[in-house]
C-alpha cells in the first residue's frame, strides 16, 4: 500500500504558519508523504497542487476568519476537477457557528486550538481514501 499523500496549505493573506508547520511535521513523522505549499495560496493554487501531487488529503490552516470565503471556493474547484474523493480538513480558529456550514460543503474534519496531533493523525488514517 502506498503512503497517504497530504497537501498542507496556508490560504489567504495570513502568515502565521506555526500550526501548519507543526502538523506537517507530525503527519510526516506518522508515515505520511507531506507537501507543504507555503504561504498565500489561492484555492486555485491549492487544487493545482493537490492534482499535481496526487493528494489523498488537503489540510488547510486558517486563523484569520477568511474560511467562509476560501473553503466554498476550494470545494467547488475540487468538484470541477473530479477530486471530490480527496479528504479536506481545516485547522485553526473557526467560530462554532461556522462549523456546520463547513461540514455541509464537505469539509470532513475541523480541528480547533488544542487538538492533539494524534487525534488528527487517527482521523486522517481512518477517513482518507484507500490507496492501492
Amino acid at each position: 500500500m502506498r503512503k497517504l499523500r497530504v497537501v498542507i496549505a496556508k490560504p489567504g493573506l495570513d502568515g502565521h504558519d506555526r500550526g501548519a508547520k507543526v502538523i506537517a511535521r507530525a503527519l510526516r513523522d506518522a508515515g505520511m508523504e507531506v507537501i507543504y505549499t507555503g504561504l498565500r495560496q489561492t484555492p486555485e493554487m491549492i487544487v493545482a497542487a493537490a492534482l499535481q501531487e496526487d493528494a489523498d488529503v488537503i489540510g488547510l490552516s486558517i486563523l484569520s476568519g477568511a474560511h467562509n470565503h476560501i473553503a466554498p471556493r476550494l470545494m467547488q474547484l475540487l468538484k470541477e476537477k473530479a477530486l471530490d474523493d480527496v479528504l479536506v480538513v481545516i485547522g485553526g480558529i473557526i467560530p462554532d457557528v461556522d462549523i456546520p456550514k463547513l461540514k455541509d460543503i464537505g469539509i470532513r474534519g475541523v480541528f480547533l486550538p488544542g487538538t492533539p496531533m494524534q487525534d488528527i493523525i487517527e482521523f486522517i488514517n481512518s477517513n482518507a481514501r484507500a490507496r492501492v
Partner: protein, 543 residues
C-alpha cells in the same frame, strides 16, 4: 557547585519528576545559592536601577515615578467601529492607543484586491487611505495621546497618514509621540507579513530613522519585536537573542546609511512576549536591558545614556490562551502581566480571555485592562524597584540568558549578519524546531496545559464571542469606490510617479510617500508602485 548546607536530608529528597525545566525546556536546579552568582559583579553586571547596564531598570524610581503605559491593542471592522472602541478604552482609563490593522492593510492590498477576499476588517481595522485614518482618530486629539501602530511592510505609508491627520488637527510633528512597529526582520523570521525583499525593506526603515531624527523627534521609529518570534514557537532565549540581534542589525544599517548612532538609536524601542514561565520571563527582560546597553556602548560606541537604555512594550502570550475553559485565560494573563511588571516593562497589553476564539468583545477587553489596574494599584508590587533583584535564582537566570544570547549573536555575526542569517533560513529553522519540540512535550504530557491535556472538562458551555461579518468589507469597498471618484486622479498619478522615481534612486522615501498620502493614494496603490520597482519577496518554506 552547591554549598553543603543547601542539601536536604536524604529521606526528603524524592522529587515529583526526574528533571524540572522551564516552558522553554531549560533545566532548573532544585536550589540556587551564593555559589551560583559568584562570577557576577554587582556594579558591573547588575547595578542600581537607572545605572548602566540597567539590568534592574532604566529609571532610578521605577514605577514610583511613572507607571507603565496601559496600552490595549485594538482594531476590527471599519475605522468607524474601531474609533468607537478607542473612545471606550480611553474612557475606561487606558493611557495610550494601539492600532491593530487587518491583513489587507498589513499586506499593502486594497479591499478590492482578489487576495483581500474574506479578510477585510477581520483581524483588525481596515485602513485604505488617509480618509480612513481621519475617521479612525476622529474626536481623539493626537497631541494629547500616544499611539502605537502595529504595521510593518507598509509602515511608512501608515505613518505618513498619521502624520497628515496630526497636521490637520494642528498637532506639531515635533511634539507628537507614539510608535510604529516597522520591524521587517521579525516578519521574515516569524510572522511572515512581508512584501518587498529584505534589502529594500531595510532601506525603508533607515529612511524612516533619518526622517524622524529631525522631523518627528519624539516618535519611536521601530519596535523591535520578539513577540511574534516567541508566538511562532521560539524559546525565551531564542526570542531574546533574535530580537536583540535584529536590533543590532537595524543600528548597523542606520550607521552604514550614514546616520549618527546617538541621533537615531534613542528612538528605537522593543516589544517582548510575556509567556507563562514566570521567572524565565522576568529574567529575559532584565537580560535584554543589559545586552542592549553593553552592545550600544561597546559595539557601536554610543555616547548618550538614551542610546543605552532599552525601553520595551510587553504583550501577554496569545499562544498560551486556550479555547478550552476560556476563563482560565484571565489567570494566565494576570500572571504573565505580573512577570512583565516585575521585569520592568514600560508599556503593557494584556490579552482578553476570549482571544483563542476570536477578537475580544468590549467586556473581555475591559477585564483585561482591569487586570493591569489591579496589579498597578492593589498588589503593592509597584512600590519598590526590581523587588527580585539579588535573588540567586533570578540573577543566575538573567546572566545565563545574557550568555546564551551572546552565543547566538556570535553565530549570526559569523553568517555575516541577520539579513544573511534570514536568507539562509537560520532563525526560521531554530524556531520551527522549538515549536515542534514543545508540541511533542505537550502530547507526551511532559508539559501540562490546564484544560487542554489535563484537567479537561466535558460539555463546556459556549461563551459570547465577537463575530465579524461581511458588512465591514462591503462598507470599505463602497467608500473606496467613492474615494476613487472624488480625489484628483491626476494628482494621485503624479505622486505615485514621484514615489517610483525615489525608490529607483536613494532619496529618502518619506517625502514622496507623504505627497501620495495627501493626494489620497491608497495603500495598495503606494505598495504597488514599490512592488513595480523592487518586486515581491517569496520565502522557501521550511518544515
Amino acid at each position: 557547585m552547591k554549598t553543603a548546607t543547601a542539601t536536604p536530608p536524604a529521606t526528603t529528597s524524592a522529587e515529583r519528576a526526574q528533571s524540572f525545566t522551564t516552558i522553554s525546556g531549560r533545566p532548573i536546579d532544585r536550589l540556587y545559592t551564593a555559589s551560583d552568582v559568584q562570577g557576577i559583579d554587582y556594579a558591573r553586571d547588575i547595578a542600581d536601577p537607572g545605572a548602566f547596564p540597567y539590568t534592574r531598570g532604566i529609571h532610578a524610581t521605577g514605577y514610583r515615578g511613572k507607571l507603565w503605559t496601559m496600552r490595549q491593542f485594538a482594531g476590527f471592522g471599519t475605522p468607524e467601529e474601531t474609533n468607537g472602541r478607542y473612545k471606550t478604552l480611553l474612557k475606561a482609563g487606558g493611557t495610550g492607543l494601539s492600532v491593530a490593522f487587518d491583513l489587507p492593510t498589513l499586506m499593502g492590498r486594497d479591499p478590492d484586491h482578489e487576495l483581500s477576499l474574506g479578510e477585510v476588517g477581520k483581524c483588525g481595522v481596515n485602513v485604505t487611505s488617509l480618509a480612513d485614518m481621519e475617521t479612525l482618530f476622529d474626536g481623539i486629539a493626537l497631541g494629547d495621546i500616544t499611539t502605537s501602530m502595529t504595521i510593518n511592510s507598509p509602515a511608512a505609508m501608515i505613518f505618513a497618514m498619521y502624520l497628515v491627520v496630526a497636521e490637520k488637527q494642528g498637532a506639531s510633528w515635533k511634539t507628537i509621540s507614539g510608535t510604529i512597529q516597522n520591524d521587517i526582520l521579525k516578519e521574515f523570521i516569524a510572522q511572515k507579513e512581508y512584501i518587498f525583499p529584505p534589502r529594500p525593506s531595510m532601506r525603508i526603515i533607515t529612511d524612516i530613522f533619518g526622517f524622524c531624527s529631525t522631523e518627528v523627534p519624539k516618535w519611536n521609529t521601530i519596535s523591535v519585536s520578539g513577540y511574534h518570534i516567541r508566538e511562532a514557537g521560539a524559546t525565551a532565549l531564542q526570542e531574546l537573542a533574535f530580537t536583540l540581534r535584529d536590533g543590532l542589525e537595524y543600528v548597523q544599517w542606520g550607521v552604514d546609511a550614514g546616520l549618527d548612532v546617538d541621533a537615531f538609536v534613542p528612538q528605537i524601542s522593543f516589544f517582548f512576549n510575556a509567556h507563562s514561565d514566570f521567572f524565565e520571563e522576568l529574567a529575559k527582560y532584565r537580560a535584554a536591558r543589559k545586552l542592549w546597553a553593553t552592545a550600544m556602548k561597546d559595539r557601536f560606541g554610543a555616547q548618550h545614556e538614551r542610546s543605552w537604555k532599552l525601553r520595551f512594550h510587553t504583550q501577554t502570550a496569545g499562544v498560551s490562551l486556550t479555547a478550552q475553559q476560556p476563563y482560565n485565560n484571565v489567570v494566565r494573563t494576570a500572571l504573565q502581566a505580573l512577570s512583565a511588571v516585575l521585569g520592568g516593562t514600560n508599556s503593557l497589553h494584556t490579552n482578553s480571555l476570549d482571544e483563542a476564539l476570536a477578537l475580544p468583545t468590549a467586556e473581555a477587553a475591559t477585564l483585561a485592562l482591569r487586570t493591569q489596574q489591579i496589579i498597578a494599584h492593589e498588589s503593592g508590587v509597584t512600590n519598590v524597584v526590581d523587588p527580585l533583584g539579588g535573588s540567586y535564582f533570578v540573577e543566575k537566570l538573567t546572566q545565563d540568558m545574557v550568555d546564551g544570547a551572546r552565543v547566538y549573536f556570535d553565530a549570526i555575526d559569523r553568517m555575516g549578519g541577520m539579513v544573511e542569517a534570514i536568507e539562509r533560513g537560520f532563525p526560521q529553522k531554530e524556531i520551527a524546531e522549538s515549536a515542534y519540540r514543545f508540541q511533542q512535550a505537550v502530547e507526551r504530557k511532559e508539559k501540562i496545559i490546564v484544560g487542554v491535556n489535563d484537567f479537561v472538562q466535558e460539555d463546556e458551555p459556549p461563551i459570547e464571542i465577537l463575530y465579524i461579518d461581511e458588512s465591514a468589507a462591503d462598507r470599505q469597498l463602497a467608500k473606496l469606490e467613492q474615494l476613487r471618484k472624488t480625489r484628483s486622479a491626476d494628482q494621485v498619478q503624479r505622486s505615485l510617479d514621484g514615489l517610483r522615481r525615489a525608490a529607483k534612486r536613494t532619496d529618502n522615501l518619506m517625502p514622496p510617500i507623504l505627497d501620495a498620502v495627501r493626494a489620497y493614494a491608497t495603500i495598495g496603490e503606494m505598495c504597488d508602485a514599490l512592488r513595480e520597482v523592487w518586486g515581491e519577496y517569496e520565502e522557501t518554506p521550511i518544515i
